[in-house]
């Protein structure tokens, strides 16, 4: 199992890579056969190529991630709350999300699950308590 520090660092690397629109760096955080279910309940993206494509498309929106509170680490998993800020037709939009990563012993993400739904979209970028 990777150390808590390594899992926390992987989450920070994920956010940084997303925010500089670097889908290769995001893909390289995942195991070759990893699954990305974003949002939970939708068909998963499976494997490096599908994961790269999903993130490349997501980054084209110009969305940026903002961590909210500390990364939670338990067993081989990390959970973290964040907001996604983007503009749709020049209107600022925020999506509140919680992601859960599961890691393998090599420190790669084998499963990513993103929790958000229609009620987590809001106009503007008002801070939450």
């Amino acid at each position: 199992m990777p150390t808590p520090e390594a899992m926390t660092a992987a989450v920070h690397a994920y956010v940084a890579a997303f925010d500089r629109a670097d889908p290769s760096a995001v893909r390289d955080l995942f195991a070759a056969n990893a699954t990305v279910e974003d949002p939970v309940g939708s068909p998963p993206h499976v494997g490096h190529d599908a994961i790269y494509g999903f993130y490349a498309k997501s980054m084209e929106t110009g969305a940026k991630l903002h961590l909210e509170g500390p990364v939670r680490i338990a067993g081989n998993s990390a959970a973290f709350a964040f907001s996604v800020k983007l503009a749709i037709n020049d209107s600022p939009m925020q999506i509140d999300v919680i992601d859960v990563f599961e890691f393998n012993d090599a420190g790669k993400v084998v499963s990513m699950r993103a929790y958000f739904g229609p009620g987590n979209f809001s106009q503007g970028a008002a801070p939450h308590a």
Copy 2:
């Protein structure tokens, strides 16, 4: 599947019941054969009696839960970030946690997983960004 509103209400009912130290009300949010894995990686508490016992004991610490940010809803699941504030030997302590609830069609929680680890304990009650 329960509505997003019903799942969000269940999370708020859970926090309120915990904070008034009412383990019966917490238990009644769960299905009879539900599992509680708190923290993730530890042996789960299975079924109403075990869940009641676990929460009754947790509440004896005087711990109180404080939601941080909105409840995230995806599919049949709710994820939410919160802090636990308690005192150990009169010293204030905070634990930062993310819980994930999965619901059945009757709106009862069938699986609860709590994400936190040693790195999520801090002295005092300093607010997080």
